[in-house]
Amino acid sequence: MDVQRRGAGAEISRLRKEFGSGAGRVVAIEEVNLTIRPGEFVCIVGPSGCGKSTLLRILAGLDHATGGRIKVDAAGWPVANAMVFQDSGLFPWMNVEKNVAFGLMTRGVPGAEIAARVEAALRLVGLTRFRRHYPHQLSGGMRQRAAIARAFVTDPGMLLMDEPFAALDAQNRTILQGELMRIWEETGKTIIYITHSIDEALLLSERTVVMTALPGRIKEIKDIPFPHPRDVMALSASPAFGALKLDIWRILEAEVMRARAELEK
């Protein structure tokens, strides 16, 4: 299966991010160079506190880099990017429909068009029956689906996902990973996906970027050659998957240990 790729590309060069100043200065990201191809699904894995979320926040425009630059080729995309957060970030005072429509409402899209696009997005994530529900009436998995619909409905150049399934239980996570895979295969959107789980990175991505512990640098970039369409459950049981997982763990292991030693100091 060939995925029809429709998304923005990005070129990150020599990116650097520092927090604080003087003695309390922390270098969160250093010398990050990465080219994202249009329509690509990239996962970024690394130990906790390796700056991977910071990298995503800079891409999302929520944080400023201290140095380096990001060139996003989002020509032709009305919305450069849309982010999916770990805690859905749905507004508790809006029902599902209003939440999903938020990024269209803010951009002045006409009402009739909003209705049609929200309808399509809700169908994409299987939430049409829950359009009038408020977030507190939904399960964690349904909230994340709504958050994904809210991102997709804006038709962004790229999707930025920050451990979106980390707070879900294992079964829900597997189901949502499968659905995200299907949605990506249908839409061919550029997705940059942050996770600390090697499994998740292997299941979802075409390339996995392994980052080092503080300061966050790119240690290695691995191609994940599994074909599409992917059945995430079957894939996770295959010997090739196991071999690659071990491979990446070996790369990551030293960094995780280093991050732990750093914490215990």
Binding site: A60, F85, F91, G103, T106
Partner: protein, 252 residues
């Protein structure tokens, strides 16, 4: 009978028991009924005042002043509180003023307000408005400033303008605390208004209480006290119901 209904019924035991004990002790001749009227004496006076129309006049005057003052104080307090949370310069400008004026007992401003607005309704409404303004603005600001960071991030990432931010995000995010402020404000507004009506009014429930005291008509005085208590209770319940409708996500 459901457990909830039984619990509600049990709630009535202490007030009814108190009234009964009060009545019985006075009927046994303990205490002077001229100074401490029995509940039945108060009830009789209540019907007298209600039938003559006096009670309706005093009650409606007091209610008018409370409601007008409440709205005039609360609406700008919410608006300015939200703007303070959104724009740091506004906060820096307002903060010292609020810190300085908030602790002043608002009743102390009554003579000043009489000078400014005269002896009519306006001075009383102004006093209520000022007393309401501070708890509401402080709560609104606190509520808006403590909105979870993720909602600011979402709004920014999804292209919200300052206007959308204000009307769709910050306002609703602050609503639970705004209501906490409004509840305090309701109680405070009755407190300051009755005090003002004691000395600076010829109408209202505060006037009824103070005037009855000066004439040593203690039973009339109690009618005023009871009516204010009931009004306070009703407004508190109404506000609670409003909150349930407007802030449905807070319930669970």
């Amino acid at each position: 009978m459901s457990a909830k209904a039984r619990e509600r019924l049990l709630y009535l035991i202490s007030p009814i028991g108190l009234l009964l004990a009060w009545q019985i002790l006075l009927m046994m001749g303990l205490g002077d009924r001229r100074f401490i009227p029995a509940p039945t004496d108060i009830a009789v006076r209540f019907w007298e005042l209600a039938a003559s129309g006096d009670l309706a006049v005093h009650t409606s005057v007091t209610l008018y002043r409370v409601i007008a003052g409440f709205l005039i104080g609360a609406i700008p307090a919410v608006a300015i509180g939200l703007i303070m949370a959104m724009f740091n310069p506004v906060r820096i400008f307002c903060d010292p003023l609020i810190a300085a004026i908030f602790p002043i007992p608002k009743v102390a401003l009554m003579p000043l307000l009489l000078l400014a607005f005269g002896f009519g309704d306006a001075s009383k409404i102004a006093l209520v408005a000022i007393a309401v303004f501070f708890p509401v603005i402080v709560n609104t600001y606190t509520g808006a400033a403590n909105i979870d960071r993720i909602y600011w991030d979402v709004a920014k990432n999804y292209g919200a303008s300052s206007y959308v931010m204000f009307t769709r995000v910050v306002f609703f995010g602050a609503l639970p605390l705004i209501f906490a402020g409004l509840r305090i404000a309701v109680a405070v507004s009755f407190v300051v208004l009755v005090a003002a009506e004691f000395v600076a009014s010829k109408s209202g429930l505060g006037y009824l209480i103070w005037n009855s005291w000066e004439l040593l008509q203690v039973d009339y005085m109690f009618v005023g006290i009871v009516v204010i208590g009931v009004l306070g209770l009703i407004t508190a319940v109404l506000l609670q119901e409003l909150e349930r409708i407007v802030v449905p996500w807070k319930a669970e």
